[in-house]
């Protein structure tokens, strides 16, 4: 956690001047929005997180002006607001791109290809983590688990889901974003800019017709269990391998073209008390 605001990070003994205020018209507009946000809570301070999203919607990142605005409205010190704004990762502290491309590199996605995707995008865009392309379109970052592990590897753009990505699909995705094409996520509404997204996060419904409906119902992986329970084929599986089962345990005879459609009945080295770690040595061989 780097706790320094973007300016005045190097102290030279001179206290920083207070941040400039928003122009009167902007302030009037934001104050009306803020009043609505504050009205949702029994205690006004609860509105601070949504208000920080709101000022982020105004300028694309949380500025000193924005923090001063929040402090004024909620009767807090700017120090109190800065302490909060710097705690949470979704508040950007410097100007960034219209599209924030986040590659999940938590363990499961990383292993399934997230690391490779992140590397490919860095090379493709010529930027590193938390950097923005020169045209100001794309900010690249790696993100933590986004609750979509059954769609791994996952890429989020402005916090919309792009499921089951590969280095190729991810490169095409950022190319399309930079070319200004309309890009549709796997689940959810067609992309809007980061600032428009931030306004939804502040608690204002998406004004676009069809935004709620877009992307349909549950994603395919979300339906895996339901489909099975209804007697349908598993999506992504080679066929109806699950039922009905009249004769022997299916994996006693590996299905054709399917050397080990499941791990269960195979003897593993784990059963060897001298090598409780199991498949490690196998992994080494296969890994080479």
């Amino acid at each position: 956690m780097t706790n320094t605001p973007e300016q005045g990070a190097v102290g030279l003994g001179m206290p920083e001047m207070p941040a400039p205020e928003y122009p009167a018209d902007v302030r009037a507009r934001l104050e009306a929005d803020a009043a609505e946000v504050i009205g949702r809570y029994p205690d006004s301070r609860s509105a601070l997180l949504p208000l920080l999203h709101l000022v982020q919607a105004e300028e694309g990142h949380v500025t000193r002006t924005g923090m001063r605005f929040c402090a004024d409205l909620l009767g807090l010190t700017t120090a109190e607001v800065i302490a909060v704004a710097t705690f949470y990762t979704m508040y950007r502290r410097k100007p960034s791109g219209d599209y924030q491309v986040g590659v999940c590199t938590n363990t499961l996605c990383a292993v399934m290809g997230g690391d490779a995707i992140f590397e490919a995008l860095q090379q493709h865009l010529g930027i590193g983590n938390d950097e923005t392309t020169e045209d100001g379109k794309v900010t690249l970052e790696h993100i933590e688990c986004n609750a979509a592990c059954d769609f791994a590897p996952v890429v989020m753009v402005n916090w919309e889901f792009f499921d089951n990505q590969t280095p190729e699909t991810a490169k095409r995705l950022v190319d399309d974003l930079r070319a200004g094409l309309t890009v549709k996520p796997s689940r959810g509404a067609p992309l809007c800019t980061y600032r428009e997204t931030a306004r939804v996060l502040a608690g204002f419904p998406d004004p676009r017709a069809g935004a709620v409906e877009a992307g349909g119902g549950a994603g395919h992986a979300s339906l895996a269990g339901l489909r099975l329970a209804k007697g349908e084929t598993v999506p992504g599986s080679p066929g109806r391998i699950v039922s009905p089962r009249s004769s022997g345990y299916p994996s006693d005879e590996p299905p054709p073209g399917h050397p080990s459609s499941h791990d269960a009945p195979h003897a593993t080295s784990a059963s060897d008390p001298d090598h409780p770690a199991g498949p490690v040595t196998d992994g080494t061989e296969e890994g080479e």
Partner: protein
């Protein structure tokens, strides 16, 4: 093999029990109209006709336990709310879902948000609350849209607001988007965050039931816990108890991910095994086998293929040395380096440590330094003991359970895969090829073999 043969008779239709997910495949599953076609708001009608204390007793008798990780009995939690204290009471739904591997609440809210709203009406009636909050992690904007929409629909239909369904009961719901911090899933950090502060855990006691949001009596429940309540009221506690075991009754969402043929959500009675789930869903990806897995997210000690028959309920997983947690079944096959996996999880904990207490803040930092060295082949044998030692200094000695969670992957991986750590030290690096673990790498691997 007796377990396997017995499974033979069991079809997925019998093993699985979709309740919350029963109509996710309908085209407009998230709308009020669809929900009403599937017994929507029937449980609420029954509950509103009952005295609040009877609702609490009913949920307690059903045996429902919290689905947010700890498995605390839901009805008992509601019972702790003091009555007649003259203070406002609050219900806060924990929709922060950020535990690595956990991916059940987000699809549930995307496809069926009304089950949560109905559950919230019932819970608030029971604990005499008139204002409830949904704390949703911010990084899921499509879900936020659907929640805004569903809440608005419920207000329009008279299921929220004043005099709900003519019962005289009033309830307002505020949807609140977080701003990115795993620790805000911890219930007291969540309350601080909802009060507009840095999300850092609070000292307990006092517990939230006594002094929670704005120092008032507060229930914090997971999304899935609350969303399970309407079906219990509507179909009966006996029906609920007919699934699962005596101590872990009912249905729940299991999230299968990783190197499996069919990752996804599987709603089943508590106590199903990973072997059964893999068996019905096509198993591990072709040509590979299970190496290690988490029963309930990265904070629960990992299991290996020796644990395929552990009943996935609170007691079964506990007896086998781990925790049911969030039922996030992340499955890794033999191409995966366990040191790499644990290093990445530990980096996550170090990044997400809120910094309030020393064992976790410093400990996770040093764990990362050691693990990175080991992974890069620059470690020493003594580092393995040092890892265990630091983990021991975090576990049980931290201010909140994030610290314990950070220690889990270290302890469990050293227990089952110590020789793999040693191999990194003696071999001067990682013996695995990460390309083989990728979603696309497995297939080419198969071609090479075939």
């Amino acid at each position: 093999m007796s377990v396997a043969t017995q499974l033979n008779e069991e079809s997925p239709e019998k093993l699985l029990s979709p309740v919350l997910s029963a109509f996710w495949d309908e085209p407009d599953s998230w709308t009020l109209e669809t929900y009403l076609r599937h017994d929507g708001y029937q449980g609420m009608r029954k509950a509103l006709e009952m005295p609040p204390d009877d609702v609490i007793a009913y949920v307690k008798d059903s045996g429902l336990r919290g689905r947010g990780g700890a498995g605390f009995p839901t009805g008992m939690k509601w019972q702790f709310i003091p009555q007649g204290d003259g203070k406002p009471h609050y219900l806060v739904v924990n929709a922060d879902e950020s535990e690595p591997g956990t991916c059940k609440d987000i699809p549930l809210l995307f496809a069926n948000p009304h089950s949560l709203i109905e559950g919230m009406v019932i819970a608030c009636h029971a604990i005499r609350s008139h204002h409830a909050f949904i704390y949703l992690r911010g990084e899921v904007v499509p879900v936020l849209r659907r929640l805004h929409h569903a809440v608005a629909e419920a207000y329009r239909a008279g299921y929220l607001g004043k005099d709900i369904a003519g019962s005289g009961f009033d309830l307002d719901i505020t949807v609140h988007a977080g701003a990115g911090a795993y620790i805000c899933g911890e219930e007291t950090a969540l309350l601080d965050s909802l009060e507009g502060r840095r999300g850092q855990p609070r000292l307990r006691p006092p517990f939230p039931a006594v002094a929670g949001l704005y120092a008032c009596p507060t229930v914090v429940n997971n999304v899935e816990s609350i969303a399970s309540v309407p079906a219990i009221l509507n179909r009966g506690k006996e029906w609920f108890r007919s699934m699962g075991s005596d101590k872990s009754p009912g249905f729940t969402l299991y999230s299968l991910s990783g190197h499996v043929t069919s990752p996804g959500q599987y709603e089943a009675p508590l106590g199903i095994t990973l072997r059964q789930l893999l068996d019905v869903s096509g198993g591990m990806r072709p040509g590979h086998r299970l190496k290690f897995w988490t029963p309930g997210g990265s904070s629960t000690p990992m299991f290996t293929d020796e644990h395929l028959d552990v009943p996935l309920d609170y007691e079964g997983v506990g007896a086998a040395g781990s925790m049911l947690g969030t039922k996030a079944l992340q499955c890794f096959d033999e191409t995966t380096c366990v040191v790499r996996a644990v290093t990445r999880w530990t980096e996550f904990y170090a990044h997400e440590s809120c910094g309030k207490c020393t064992p976790c803040r410093e400990g996770t930092y040093w764990l990362v330094q050691l693990l990175r060295d080991i992974e890069a082949g620059k470690g020493r044998m003594a580092d393995l003991d040092k890892l265990a030692d630091i983990a021991d200094n975090i576990n049980g000695k931290s201010f909140c359970a994030l610290g314990d969670g950070a220690a889990s992957p270290i302890f469990s991986s050293l227990k089952y895969f110590r020789d793999e750590y040693e191999e990194h030290v003696t071999g001067g690096g990682c013996p695995f090829d990460p390309a083989l673990s990728t979603a696309w790498g497995g297939a080419s691997h198969l071609e090479v073999n075939a």
